[in-house]
Symmetry: C2
Subunit: 358 residues, 2 copies
Amino acid sequence: MLDRFKVPEEDRVYVRESEVRAATEAIFLAIGLVEADAKRAADVLIQNDLRGVETHGVSNMLRSYVASYQSGDLEPKPKIVTERETSTTAVLDGGKGLGLHVAPTAMEMAIEKARVHGMGAVNVHNVGHMGGAGYHAMMAIEHDMIGVAMSTSGRAIVLPTWGAEPRLGTNPIAWAVPAGEMPSFVFDIGTSQIAANKMRLAKRVGARIAPGWIARPDGTPVMEEIDFPDEYYLLPFGGTRELGSHKGYGLGATVNILSSILTGIGPSLAPSSPGFHLMAYRIDAFIDVAKFKADMDEFLRGLVATRPAPGEARVVYAGLLEEEEHARRLETGIPYHTEVIEWFGTIGKELGLTFSFV
Amino acid sequence: MLDRFKVPEEDRVYVRESEVRAATEAIFLAIGLVEADAKRAADVLIQNDLRGVETHGVSNMLRSYVASYQSGDLEPKPKIVTERETSTTAVLDGGKGLGLHVAPTAMEMAIEKARVHGMGAVNVHNVGHMGGAGYHAMMAIEHDMIGVAMSTSGRAIVLPTWGAEPRLGTNPIAWAVPAGEMPSFVFDIGTSQIAANKMRLAKRVGARIAPGWIARPDGTPVMEEIDFPDEYYLLPFGGTRELGSHKGYGLGATVNILSSILTGIGPSLAPSSPGFHLMAYRIDAFIDVAKFKADMDEFLRGLVATRPAPGEARVVYAGLLEEEEHARRLETGIPYHTEVIEWFGTIGKELGLTFSFV
């Protein structure tokens, strides 16, 4: 994550992962989730926070999930129904459950199909937020598989290239690939230039907005650095056509097709509920796992060994900084904005829970 | 394609597609390909030219294929061997055949596996250039499937984000999706900011290089418009980290993993032969085809109906301009640079062939 999004040091409170994990599980249990789902949903949020993906950790997301349960938009004990199934594919009705635990259920199905047949893909509709694509893709790794996860995001807030009306969600997509000794390759991106959550984070930490990140309400890309604006649209990644925004736009549309249209949700140009597409490839359906992992190690080491450009400290790859952050935060605790700690206090009181770190 | 890459009007010769197709087939036959392979290879090049994807048409590519056959790097009558196979996957040794016809053979296998099992993926190594990913992905469309095609490109010419040494090829990737009445969605991109072929084209037509497209030999992104430089590296799409080049870099690495490492080619940090990953999803393994196509039409119409930003004429989607160009060029012929026509004359003489348009 770029420095400008980080919580300023003076506003940080460091909390041990075990404490915030226990608090998050307790909140999900108090809301009515069964224990396995509460643990899984908390694990998604805490793993994101440990990996430094705080756009999808407890700070940004947990309170909105709680509000959705309280309003009845989310069902704590969803009935998940398989609507169509082949040996390699399935479409699930998620029963209005939170994606944080419904997506892992679907990914486990995809993994089992891949175990038997080589590949598997499971789509989900009628489901809440996925909580970041990376976690679900990474579930394939321990099975010596490659995982793919994508989701439409429910709200049209991203402009098409050359457009002045939003047509797509931020539509994240992730690939996760095991290596041998090196940290796994985990490529987990939004297809907008800036994640919607990152804009919320930018507002919280008072970050300025860089050129090419957003558009004015009339669709014109903002090409100078500005303070956080009152009104804006998100641009596809690339920003402008000359800088390749048709690639972000096209990938966002691809995610919409595979996650929503292929799931039966419809065109999803207007706000609609999200759809998921979760996929697994079994590596040894193509090549011996040992050779694959050795080649992955050599590839990833080669990337890291690249001489940096002037002014740059090092070259990394997708998943490396997140793994380093994970190790660091297990030691130091996870830095949260004081405002997030206060929220835990408030919601704890409301649900009759007490948390050690508040 | 951006205007700056187009052949200037005064250097254009318009040739009917049937004539250049016949000439291209004749060249492949004279080189020793069997008729079906010669027709398929020519079809890939001519379809690319008709769709305006001239980076992968006869102008840029045919002469290099001819040279590779003449040097023995390509085998006109390759023996394709299945090395590993499951119900949904396969890895093929392409027998040093040209990817233009070996990739369709592999894609046909993936489609047949998807027809029976819902999904299929076939990887290929020991094979020549694919000739653009879009054509092969589009093969799935007539079977009511979604096609995916990707390839590593053999030469490391793209810098990792923050790096000063090239580590990846331009590693193209394409998704092709059928609609009902609207032109198919065909999202076909390189993972570098600018395709290597487009740089060749830029040199031929004397185009200037825009900010954020390439890096200096020391790895620094060039952020002003310049004339075509003597030495440069390609940047991942996005250009700089602030503009999202980690997304282009990560997608390029993903293509390398799925196309080369999963195929057994190895880490492919240094020049190596390309690898392919071709995949098909059967739509009705997820949802009824009629509903899918109706929703695709509504989605694509909605994108096209988007109000344009100030100064922009219209909003399009991946595949729309290419389909319009296809219709236009069937009428007007395909515009080639005079230099390309001269090359047909030269190679014709060498192979004892005469072409009507030279």
